[in-house]
């Protein structure tokens, strides 16, 4: 839940009084032209970006205005929120599988074998299981996106944030992505998708929110 969020850069309002709510199992599209603050809103929810006014509550964990709290105080938020970056930001020194196992092993404390099994299941469910041993630079754009989704899903978050997921996809892959995201909603997750792709938003989102410029 985002309540009257306000973010200022250099005394200019990037976001003003943004309020929205994403329920479990719901796909909400946040529509706006480029530069209107969609990414800023997602970053605020992921606690990568401080905000000036308002309140953000994720599954009972509240973020308040002011500087981003130290990581030690964000442990429970990190398990509740996953973020898929626009450029995917896969760790390019790790294989696709190890991108997914990193949090499983080092945050959730799973053994190597358990983490590998969970990660492989996630990659399989996103239809990139065959690419588990590939390096990020060997993946196509669509494959990299699916690996990035698998990585964000590894801690099993209640809310998944996606920044411009259709930016580099052809129409056929866009449709496939829509189906994948619907599948995630059916698992009971909330999805907040920032996009400027009106067609995609209308076709796949439960609700479309448009940010005023």
């Amino acid at each position: 839940m985002i309540d009257r969020l306000r973010v200022r850069f250099d005394s200019r309002d990037v976001l003003r009084a943004l309020s929205l709510e994403v329920a479990a199992g719901e796909l909400v599209a946040l529509m706006a032209p480029s530069g209107a603050g969609k990414t800023t809103a997602l970053r605020a929810v992921a606690a990568l970006q401080p905000f000036d006014e308002g309140r953000i509550v994720v599954d009972g964990f509240a973020l308040l205005p002011g500087p981003v709290p130290p990581e030690a105080r964000l442990v429970s938020l990190r398990r509740r929120v996953g973020l898929v970056f626009q450029g995917h930001a896969l760790f390019d020194h790790l294989s696709a599988l190890d991108n997914v196992t990193l949090a499983l092993r080092h945050v959730l404390g799973k053994s190597r074998a358990d983490a590998d099994a969970v990660a492989q299941r996630l990659l399989d469910s996103l239809e990139v299981g065959a690419r588990a041993s590939a390096w990020p630079r060997q993946l196509s754009g669509g494959e990299a996106q699916r690996v990035a989704i698998a990585r964000a899903l590894a801690p099993d978050p209640a809310l998944l944030l996606m920044d411009e997921p259709t930016a580099a996809l052809d129409p056929a892959r866009r449709t496939a992505l829509g189906a994948t995201l619907r599948g995630l909603c059916e698992q009971g997750r909330g999805l907040l998708v920032a996009t400027h792709d009106a067609e995609f938003a209308r076709a796949h989102a439960d609700r479309v929110l448009t940010l005023g410029t």
């Binding site: 992921a46 970056f85 760790f91 949090a103 945050v107 990585r151 801690p155």
Partner: protein, 486 residues
């Protein structure tokens, strides 16, 4: 412009009137009583070799002009034509006689051992120094004696670039004995007020000082020999030696022998091929020292560099300031100075063995450069990668260890390899603190055979054999990881 150039040329020509002036070369750096800067007028030199040069010039009807030259380079310099006559405690060796025109011997010196007083009763010669460190000046007869004694008696030769520090290190216990010419030993003892060490009465060997001229200058050499004989006969040479307190009866015996037999003491030289082969084992040993010093220094540089870079990026305010000061001071001062400070400057506080001091000096110096490479590499990791780590719940420490560090390593590896190649070559500097590495051994070799061509080429080949594979590795790493695209 043209007239200015002509003016300079004329000035140069006037400066080099070889016919009327005897241009001679010697080393005034710590060169008493041979050649030293005159305390009353540091632009002038004084010493018994200065007066010998004056006496020779007078006999030739010339005036003198002095040229400063590093002692170990006198032979090469005279052959290049930098000066006509080299005089500065130049030793009479077969190699020197084979390569250059040497004068007749004008002074007899004894190679004497100096030891600490408490050990004087136990040490009577090189044979008693098994396993002990014996210091001398590199590229001398004394050094050759020690190298030969290493194989027969098992002593450890330690080579210095000057004849002052060996005695200081003897007193402080860094070395156990010093083998050098008796006049150098006596002067060192006088400087210490007669305390600190004893000079053993029994000499290890006897040698002679000669003047050295270019091989093609044998006519001038014969004239110089005639003047020297005359100076022995008329007592002027004896007066010079008495004035400088280096006269003793053995000089009279030498003079008699020279005058009686027209002795020029020209022993036959060893064939150059035999000389070259004899130097291969010490060169191999020196190459191993270079490799070992370089590898250990680099390991130290990497560890300290990582700590410095982390301090500069993650540390508190004062830690950042401290690491910045360290990096700037180390990068802003010469490595040579740092080596001197670590080895000689700190000797009063902590007496480091030369090998350890070399590794510390090189390692701590390169650590400053490594630190900047690592800092740059850590900063080059895209922010999104770090944020991706944070959204997954990794702690800052985990992000550094699992994401930022491994990615920065890829940026750092190529410049690190380049630094290692540079360090390999900079390791030549540690010879100033008595570590005989590849370049120093080559210089000793070159001085003894009187030519840089074969030793220089051999040395270059060994350095290239070590550095080229590294340079290739750096290029491959750059190609593999430099570009992001597949």
């Amino acid at each position: 412009m043209v007239s200015l150039a002509l003016g300079i040329l004329t000035a140069l020509a006037v400066q080099h009137p070889t016919a009327r002036v005897l241009v001679w070369g010697g080393d005034a750096e710590g060169g008493a009583p041979f050649v030293e800067a005159d305390p009353a007028d540091p632009s002038q030199v004084r010493g018994f070799d200065v007066e010998v040069a004056d006496r020779i010039a007078r006999g030739l009807g010339r005036t003198t002009r002095f040229v400063q030259v590093q002692w170990s380079s006198i032979d090469q310099s005279v052959e290049r034509g930098d000066f006509a006559l080299g005089l500065s405690g130049v030793e009479d060796t077969p190699a020197r006689r084979a390569r250059h025109a040497a004068t007749l011997p004008y002074f007899e010196f004894r190679e004497v051992l100096a030891v600490r007083p408490e050990e004087a009763a136990r040490i009577h010669g090189l044979i008693d120094l098994r396993g002990r460190r014996v210091a001398t000046l590199g590229a001398t007869i004394a050094y050759d004696l020690l190298v030969r004694a290493r194989d027969s008696t098992g002593l450890i030769p330690v080579s210095y670039d000057d004849d002052v520090h060996p005695y200081g290190d003897l007193v402080t216990g860094r070395v156990d004995a010093v083998l050098l010419d008796h006049i150098i030993a006596q002067r060192a003892l006088r400087r210490r007020g007669g305390f600190g060490f004893l000079i053993l009465a029994q000499p290890v060997a006897v040698g002679h000082y000669v003047g050295v001229l270019a091989r093609a200058d044998s006519a001038l050499r014969d004239s110089v020999d005639a003047v020297l004989r005359e100076a022995m006969r008329d007592g002027s040479l004896e007066q010079i030696f008495r004035r400088w307190r280096v006269w003793d009866p053995t000089q009279g015996v030498l003079f008699d022998a020279v005058l009686r037999s027209s002795m020029t003491a020209r022993p036959a030289g060893t064939a150059p091929v035999v000389q070259a082969i004899a130097y291969l084992p010490p060169l191999a040993r020196a190459a191993a020292v270079t490799a070992l010093v370089s590898v250990l220094s680099m390991m130290l540089a990497v560890l300290v560099g990582l700590a410095l870079a982390s301090g500069r990026l993650y540390g508190s305010g004062w830690l950042r300031a401290l690491t910045t000061v360290y990096i700037e001071v180390i990068r802003g001062t010469p490595l040579l100075l740092q080596l001197f400070v670590i080895y000689y400057g700190l000797a009063g506080v902590i007496r480091l063995p030369a090998f350890l001091a070399a590794i510390l000096g090189l390692g701590l110096n390169y650590a400053a450069y490594e630190a900047e490479i690592y800092r740059g590499a850590l900063l080059a990791v895209p922010r999104a990668q770090l944020e991706a780590g944070r959204t997954l719940g990794l702690s800052e420490g985990q992000i550094l260890r699992l994401v930022r560090g491994p990615q920065a390593l890829r940026y750092a590896l190529a410049p690190m390899t380049n630094d290692f190649v540079a360090l390999l070559k900079d390791s030549a500097l540690v010879s100033v603190i008595t570590v005989v590495e590849l370049t120093k051994q080559t210089a000793i070799y070159a001085t003894n055979v009187g030519s840089w061509i074969v030793p220089g080429a051999l040395c270059a080949v060994v350095y290239l054999a070590m550095s080229l594979p590294l340079a290739r590795l750096a290029r491959r790493l750059e190609q593999r990881w430099g570009g992001r695209a597949p």
